[in-house]
Amino acid sequence: MSLDRIPILKMGKFLLVSIQIDMSDQIALALQDDLTSRIADVGACGVLIDISALTMVDSFIGRTIANIAAMSSAMDAPTVLVGMQPAVAITVVELGVSLSGVRTALDVDRGMKLLERLMAERHTLEQA
């Protein structure tokens, strides 16, 4: 049986998505549905998507990733994309897919720190 769902893990107030396979279009769309409903269910404060194992990306997958990030941002859960491979980065740039709203980090560690910093910033804003 082939894997047709990307697992979404809850880590404290954040959701962690680790994409370990080259996604097909269906899997990407399923992830989009799953992630948005999970954010609503658990009231997540941030999403971290690890794509370090993703070696191939086409314009559809690139746009879907951008959409997922925009959707979770709209649901007040900032998204950080971590571990993009050089080849994937070059492809995304050459395809002209705009990931302008997406925050990025080199690895999961830094991505988590970035999310924590974003949450702390929001706290201080709320208190002020």
């Binding site: 994309l81 971590v82 050089p86 740039v93 080199l106 690895d107």
Partner: protein, 281 residues
């Protein structure tokens, strides 16, 4: 065909002598070749030519397998002469100047004049072809040198240096074309992953001109690095380059630019949470 071959074999001594005399009338450039060396080459060429003419048996064509040893020898000759700084015309002249002594020798020959003329004609053609062949070899060896230098330059010109933990620098020197830029882009991005650096500085002080293509490549590199989670700073924007960029209408507003590498390094240090302080005396 064998008559000419026989002539060459029996009269080799005289042919070489006349051939050398032909050489000495040439401009001083060919005087660069040492006499003994030239003589050795001449003897070898004559021997190989005679062999080839004998075995080719009527079908005198320089591309036929019978001429392979001769072609091989000429390839070596043309190459070494090229390295020694001879012009291709020197080498071609050297080959072609065998004709006069050879024809003179054939003219003295008695017997069936018609058949001899036919033979001489074909040998003449073969020698011409060999002359062209040496030029081709010369050209090819030159192209090889150029290609090798190009790849060497490509390797030399893309060093990614580590300035600090988490800070990389890429000093670009020389003109950027698309091939070079893509190599630069890939090495930089790979190094960012390998060293997990948060900041990369691209220094373009050594880039003489920035056109739209180069600017486009820079923007792409910065965008790709950003996707991977690293910040890119472009430094070394000289006044002329700033002017060209603005006149070309290239939008660099999304990219952090600094005029010197030092400024960029200061920003980079701040980005990774470090600061430089003066040691108290």
């Amino acid at each position: 065909m064998s008559r000419i071959a026989k002539l060459i074999r029996t009269q080799e001594e005289r042919l070489v002598r006349d051939w050398m005399r032909e050489q000495s009338t040439r401009a001083s450039k060919s005087g660069m070749a040492r006499d003994t060396e030239l003589r050795a080459h001449a003897q070898e060429i004559l021997r190989l030519l005679a062999d080839a003419l004998e075995s080719s048996d009527g079908v005198a064509h320089s591309a036929s397998p019978a001429f392979a040893p001769l072609r091989e020898m000429l390839t070596g000759l043309s190459r070494t002469r090229g390295h020694q700084g001879f012009s291709p015309s020197d080498t071609v002249h050297f080959i072609l100047s065998i004709k006069r002594p050879l024809l003179a020798l054939a003219a003295e020959e008695g017997g069936d004049k018609g058949a001899l003329f036919d033979e001489v004609n074909r040998v003449n053609l073969v020698i011409d072809e060999l002359g062209v062949f040496t030029t081709e070899v010369h050209q090819k060896s030159r192209e090889e040198v150029i290609r090798r230098q190009q790849t060497e330059m490509l390797e030399l010109s893309t060093p990614v240096v580590k300035l600090w933990d988490g800070v990389l620098a890429l000093p670009l020197i020389g003109t950027l074309d698309s091939q070079r830029t893509s190599v630069v882009m890939e090495t930089l991005l790979q190094r960012i992953v390998d060293t997990s650096s948060a900041v990369a500085i691209i220094d373009i002080t050594g880039v003489p001109t920035v056109d739209t293509l180069v600017a486009q490549h820079l923007i792409k590199t910065v965008a790709a690095a950003r996707l991977m989670g690293a910040e890119c700073i472009v430094s070394g924007i000289r006044p002329q380059i700033a002017q060209t960029i603005v006149h070309l209408g290239v939008d660099l507003s999304n990219i952090v630019t600094k005029s010197t590498l030092a400024d960029a390094f200061a920003i980079a240090l701040r980005h990774v949470g470090l600061q430089v302080t003066k040691k108290s005396a």
